[in-house]
Symmetry: C3
Subunit: 481 residues, 3 copies
């Protein structure tokens, strides 16, 4: 028999009645605050074209690596879930793919996907029974019917979700046409971009060659000379700022930074361009580019986000058949204290610079990140990320970071998602976990209730606005000659 | 005055009344389920001979490294505890050794030994006062008296403990006579073996030379040629399967795997046999052998267990006087993401292969193991192990693994023990901690009660049976020529 | 409006009523026990001269790196807080500095500074309103007024704080004049020293050259010959023992130890003295010196404390302007298992030796430190340290260490502070967290209440006295010729 879908108002609050009471009180202060989403991966074309979304399978299942990763780990083939391979979208029946997913929904118990999906099913689509093999068809049909209505078009959902700002991510080699179209459309939704130069910075990235060609075309600079390459970055950063960007984002394998001379940098760049690419040289170039980006930030004010520590495409066979971003990126040990020293030794005390650090290696929270952020004025800590964007992960972040870095060296929540429908669900989890954490502090008399009330609003709303400079729009600096 | 021994029915359940109520409800579903013990180190001769156990000291104290390790750390000499040295069992009076232990029982407060021993004292022997200096003699006499009765012979306890299956561990160089004798005896208890080839795989193991000789004798193959060596493994794996084995076990210093060509492997093997043993070459050989074992598993279906990360025999002086396994094995940092890449790149997506990973390095739970097991169909995670086979250790495992790997990429509990009397105690701890974890999920509305009810049974009973293929007995493949 | 300063009697106790009730009961047993402070950094001249303390700013703010570190991380200049640079104390108005701090007191929410400071404000100075911009002047004036009274002189506070023993830290190159003066004064307060030789052991320390010169002068030995250098250590250790020392302290970058021959040690020492200082050689010398110190401890009985893992002076620009100890020391990954093997292989089973290990790398608690301390009779674990001297940090220490090392391989609490007024606050936090931890053990029926009652007193009082040999004053051994 189908189980009722009850999505309890007290979810994620500690069971102890005193603590739960305080958590409720704190959460009530933030539940309805607008969503600030300063880091994510939604598709700007959704908002420029405002076309209706596809069906349940192609919107909710096939693009969500949290879902097909887990199903794959239990022996389910990706093609049976309609996950596109290098040869394109498989011709699996979407309804069958959806049913396969529904029949295995028990795999997501006690995972964040369970919370996100049930929020979407309950709050966005209004279901009142649980997803299961039995209810799979009903779900598939009802979701598709709702997606076809105007109320489920991207802009309508953006408004319904009470999103004040949404950042997407684009590369220096990509056009910002959709962002321009959004602005030109007269629609009031604030959708901005962020500057993510990895594809033209990482000589080991399989996209590098193509991306550099397009970087040259779109920037109009000679990106194959060191001076022209830097100039192209400056010029594109200015373009991005004009499209609302307030931040850059750097997804490197490690947190390594370097402080080479201009001559050394140029020689390294030219040697790599000539094809002499070793792991060490590629790493050194990425390291130097973090410092170059930081120097540009002194001038144009873009906040730097550093996301290190993912071992990309770990599963060779899968990468060959399906390409990148297929749930096979595995975290690696990450070191920050020595890695950041070259950059911080040069610019770590400069009030013009602001760097937000992320990690996939939780061991660095109390050992490295909190002590660094609790000292350097240029450093702040991004929220728990990716595998750790989950109730337990968020709680560990607060428990391990707060006593050394405080709450005010953190920057609120990032949803970091391409799953647009889950954005309110994810922010809701963050607000609830922060309420639960602060409620415990109050219940244990480690903070006053009035302090917690002020702080919970700061974490949900004020800190992300400040940290990402969303209240002080940057002025695009024209690229110097 | 002697303290009463009260072993509370709510032990290990959270104090919050709501959560405790749910935990009780869940635990009631698994409390009496049969015990599946797919990985352990009991002595098969106990079950083939069914001879009565020795006295309290030699059964419970002298062989339990959890106990004498702690006592030794507080300055108590091993000989005073009747721990055998290389020169044999010391002639310490067992009653005195027992009393020394009893007088220091406070050292075990808040450790799992306290839970295990008090369970054994209370539930197996029926004591109603705590062990202490004062009650030491009473304990010694009563335990010995009970051990002399038929109700305390190994097979009677096996039945009383409701053990459905018990696996022991043997090496390729060891006979399976006791297992054969158990089968031939007509007794219905299911005691199986597991294939642990470390002694003939690790050139750095002090047992290597002797073990190879016996491997040659017992297998009838030329184990000093590469082809013969592999053939001997295949043949012995078949023998083990015939004796009920469904798994292999690999206790390596690291998780390193390799993917050498046959020629490279052979050259490496021959060079090592000639005595050119360096740490690097011994490591590479162990790494290659994991891949060789995986390839054999494709054919014969044995599930692989990998137990890396113990620095064996850390205390040089103690090793010289007492030999191995004397409580001086210390965990080391363990890396999985790069280490497993050669094996997983070759076989990680093959549905015939199943690998269960263990760790002594808890930092890998959320960073490496959960992401790997949450993606690769060949990987599952063994329970928290050895130093982490404890209430806090088990809870950290669930908290750090579940959100990424889910509950269904884990395999239930392993007791991993040679302390036969503690087996029900250990499974009881695991069932209680899982009930407590799931109860919190329900109390925080992160899982429905009916989902938790299904899951708690899966964790206690169904998952170990599935993961270790205990419902689908393997057919011994004859060794190919 | 000013908020009331309520410092609740139940602070730091879990909210669950059952657990809180037990925690209260346990805490009542230790609340008023005398303070044993065997490791800290107060200034012995306070107690020899008994002069009144300076004003609020120069006593409480400017020397407390926990405070100005956090304020600096949020962009506040150190000079505005009257933190002395290499050029001396800035001429900032102390009242203004205090007000700046008060206006940013929200930064300390949920940090240990909040707990420590509010304890000092409430219990030591008797304030009944919270510190804030609004109350900053009131605080400044009242604190200054109280500091000027006799009741706030160092010796009076020492008595009021119920300190039974307080250890300071001095180097071999420093005089013990203040300690001699305290003894000669007839005052009964027990203030002892501890032997910290880092400045004359670490060739990479910027103080090394000067410290060696003073070491030669104060010891009267030829510290530039290997034999004379060792002799000088022996002789100064005897001086320290005469001034009450029972321990040494070693603050090395890593836990590396070595076991070189005398000839190798001498050659290394001479080569370093000649200026051939490489990181590897400096590290090897520090490593060897830990073993030399351990050998001396066999003779004179001093307990060794090893505090590894701090990357000193990470912020280059700040170090150049302000010098060492300015909140820019950042923890590093620390390895113990291989690092300690040379020392433990030589002396790890010697009953005359006692070593207390500390860490800034919490990942070593369950993986390395608990297994080592749970085996070696020479090893004990110091409390959670520095960044981890906090409620969450202490709780993680207990949760991750206890199940393997037990409670009796730990040594009670160290306040490790130069902030004299915060000493009772810090011990109070430790006693409350231990009460809370043990209360959970009792509430979950993992320990009996009478066991917990005995243990909580041991942790607060008996273990530090035993571990630091405070009940068995050492006899100063005359330095051998």
């Amino acid at each position: 028999m189908a189980q009722p879908l009850i999505f309890h108002d007290d979810r994620l609050f500690p069971a102890d009645p005193t603590t739960r009471g305080i958590a409720r009180e704190l959460y009530a202060l933030v539940e309805k605050l607008p969503i600030i989403s300063p880091h994510g991966h939604t598709d700007p074309s959704w908002f420029s074209t405002n076309a209706p979304f596809e069906d349940a399978c192609d919107l909710l299942l096939a693009p969500d690596h949290y879902l097909y990763r887990m199903l794959y780990s239990q022996g389910i083939a990706l093609k049976d879930l309609r996950v596109p391979s290098k040869e394109g979208v498989p011709n699996t029946d979407p309804r069958k793919a959806w049913k396969l997913f529904a029949s295995n929904f028990h795999l997501f118990r006690a995972t964040p996907s369970w919370l996100w999906l049930n929020y979407v099913f309950s709050k966005v689509f209004g279901f009142q029974v649980r997803l299961s093999a039995e209810t799979a068809d009903k779900y598939f049909d009802e979701i598709n019917a709702q997606l076809a209505t105007d109320a489920f078009r991207p802009r309508a959902l953006f408004d319904r979700f009470n999103i004040e700002l949404l950042a997407t991510t684009e590369g220096p080699h990509e056009s910002l046409n959709h962002h321009h179209a959004i602005r030109d459309s007269g629609w009031k939704g604030r959708v901005v971009t962020a500057y993510r130069p990895d594809a033209v910075v990482d000589f080991e990235d399989e996209r590098f060659g193509d991306a550099m060609q397009r970087f040259a075309e779109v920037s109009g600079h000679d990106v194959y000379s060191w001076a022209g390459y830097l100039e192209a970055h400056r010029s594109r950063r200015a373009d991005f700022i004009a499209a609302g960007a307030t931040s850059t984002d750097h997804g490197h394998p490690t947190a390594a930074t370097a402080d080479l001379s201009a001559a050394e940098s140029e020689a390294l760049f030219q040697s790599l361009l000539k094809g002499d690419v070793t792991p060490e040289k590629a790493e050194l170039f990425r390291a130097q580019m973090l410092t170059e980006m930081a120097k540009m930030s002194l001038d144009d004010g873009l906040v730097m986000q550093i996301h290190p520590g993912s071992t990309r495409n770990h599963n060779r066979q899968l990468f060959e058949a399906y390409g990148r971003d297929k749930g096979a990126d595995i975290p690696a040990k990450t070191e920050y204290v020595q890695a950041l020293r070259p950059l911080l030794g040069k610019l770590g005390n400069d009030p013009r610079l602001s760097i937000i650090l992320f990690t996939l290696d939780e061991t660095t929270y109390s050992r490295e990140l909190a002590p660094l952020a609790g000292h350097y004025p240029t450093l702040k800590l991004g929220p728990s990320w990716w595998f750790h964007d989950s109730p337990e992960g968020m709680m560990r972040f607060r428990e391990q970071v707060t006593e050394t870095a405080g709450l005010y060296n953190t920057v609120g929540f990032n949803d970091d998602t391409r799953a647009f429908l889950s954005i309110p669900a994810r922010h809701d989890v963050a607000r609830r976990v922060d309420s639960a954490f602060l409620a415990r502090m109050v219940a244990e008399h480690r903070m006053d209730l009035n302090e917690a009330a002020e702080t919970v609003v700061d974490l949900a709303y004020n800190l992300p606005k400040q940290a990402y400079k969303l209240d002080q729009p940057l002025t695009a600096t024209p690229a110097a000659a």
